[in-house]
Amino acid sequence: MMAQGPTMRLWRSTPVRQALLLVLVVALLTLTSLGAAYLKMRSDTARAIHNDLRQELAAFDVSATPGALATLVAARARVTDPAETVYAFLGNDGRYAGNARAVLTGGQVRLSALDASRPLGDAGYLHEIERLSGGVLIVAESLAPIARLTDTFLSLLAFSLGPTILVSLGLGVLIARRSARRVARIEATLDDIAGGNLAARYDTCDRSGDDISRIGQGINRMAGKQQTATEALRQVTTDIAHDLRTPLQRLSVLLDDLRSHLPADGPASDLANSARGETERATDVFRALLHIAQIEGGEPASRFGPVDLVATARQIAELYAPTADERGDQLVLDLPDLPVMITGDAGLLGQALANLVENALRHAPAGGTLTISVTSDGPAADLTVGDTGPGIPEAERANVLRRLYRLERSRTTSGNGLGLALVSAIASLHEAELSLADNHPGLRVTLRFPRRA
């Protein structure tokens, strides 16, 4: 699991996400209903203003002379605040009357205040224009009622949505905090079990009976079964190991004894030596199988520590350098100057690398090049062994990782057929990706390790 901040963790928790979704839905509903009501009332108000304007205009006599109209308008203008209603008359003879200045340009009316003592409203105006025989009459009414309506609706929105959002979010975070602690404990338990501690359990005092505690109990049941199975397997393994090793030990003891009673050279002694050799081979296969089984059991993961892949590569390369040299092979090390740290078991990693090197030495013809390289790129580190031998056909690559599997052409070479199976088990234990590829020519085996901070 990657490390992450508490904020990120909270954000990713289910209750917080659900609370946010709820808030979103409530907000959308409120917005839609309030919005619809607002639009309806706004158009009603606008229509009412228009009706007012038409009535105002109708009050003026259509047939009056410009002089009479100007007088009428001036009288009305005098008693009317231009911030609410503007009256203006533009006579055909150049007369002007009104409580604000109005300029008519191509059907558009621009209003401005006549003087500072009588300012215009700042909410805008709706106007009506009436062309009369004596001039143009303009009546405009302030849009202040609509602005007030908008303000009302906005505060309504704020007062209804604000608390909803705050309360839902607060509750969501509160619930998330509570369940996050339990989820974290479940996660820790799972990590523990995956790390090889099969005795790890989710606390049994959580008796709330909800989904989280049921998951916890489910994990406990699963871990319990796995622990029982693993312990049974271990017991069987130990029993078999003991029951087989004792006769093998006796066999080798008896053969040693027999050898000491035979003349040093001669067919009888040769037979005893071969028998002793076969006993050792049987032991070797048996030991390797047990070793793989134990690694696959995951127990060594409980004592993982920091390991430098570069140091491991140097150690193994140094060990095999004379052997490679003797064969006329070139051993090339391609290593970075700085350590490349991963989490693991240094002994097992050394053994995995040694097995890969031995494989290359065993299967590639003498006089080739053997390359050990370590590279790291951010979240992963690669340990690679490449040879210039015959390689492994693509169809066979998955098979060679199986226990005791050997390619037809390798039947005659030494080796117990468990080398790559052991490498594969060690790779899984370290959560590393094992890949076999073409080295053009030869085989290239790469172990890709995850790097932990």
Binding site: S252, L254, G350
Partner: protein, 225 residues
């Protein structure tokens, strides 16, 4: 040098063979098949080395040695284990064991390891040079001189020779050398140790008349006293 050994092993065939082989080498051997008896015996009389099977019918080997160590019996001990587990070595060392050997083993391996435990030379802090015949190793300047001629060794060749010199007169098996010189605790399938030894011999022995590093057949290598 004859040693007094206690072998705690419940398998009679193995125990008899170990006892007989050690007796043939001139050591005196007591054999017990029970952990409880061994606890009493090892506390009561002085032994040079204890050879303890990890699986015993009554008191298992680990508990036996823990009990002995708790009672301040510091006799060097080697575990024989038929478990072959990844953690065997670590568990054995934690319980106070000095070495361990996985069954089945060759007697040569057991003999070499028991000798290494029983005749541990007293630590001489001020030791700065090691000798064998006409060869001298200067540990401070990291130089090796034989018959007045300086021999140029690689760092690992130097460590290998140093280990053989420090255990002069005692057989060092392949696995003992792998553990001590390379810190490797698995069994390589190829003859890596042989190759390193032959490289070392080419420099240390070949140009000279007398051979210092000798092969002990079926066991390992030794530098004579």
């Amino acid at each position: 040098m004859a040693m007094k050994l206690l072998v705690v092993e419940d398998d009679k065939t193995t125990a008899d063979f170990i006892a007989r082989s050690f007796s043939d080498e001139g050591h005196s051997v007591d054999c017990l098949a029970s952990g409880r008896e061994a606890l009493a015996q090892a506390s009561a009389s002085a032994y040079d080395v204890l050879v303890i099977d990890r699986m015993l019918p009554d008191l298992d080997g680990l508990s036996l040695l823990r009990a002995l160590r708790a009672a301040h019996v510091e006799t060097p001990a080697i575990f024989l284990t038929s478990l072959g587990g990844v953690d065997d070595r670590i568990e054995g060392l934690k319980a106070g064991g000095d070495d361990y050997l996985v069954k089945p083993f060759a007697f040569g391996e057991l003999s070499a390891r028991v000798s290494a435990l029983g005749r541990r030379p007293p630590l001489r802090e001020a030791e700065t040079t090691l000798h064998a015949g006409d060869l001298e190793m200067d540990l401070i300047r990291r130089r090796v001189i034989r018959a007045g001629k300086e021999i140029d060794l690689l760092p690992r060749e130097f460590s290998l020779l140093e280990h053989l010199l420090r255990n002069k007169g005692r057989v060092q098996t392949r696995t003992m050398l792998l553990e001590a010189v390379w810190d490797i605790h698995f069994d390589p399938q190829t003859n890596v140790v042989e190759t390193h030894i032959s490289r070392l011999r080419a420099k240390v022995d070949k140009p000279f008349e007398r051979e210092l590093i000798t092969t002990v057949r079926g066991a390992g290598y030794r530098i004579a006293e």
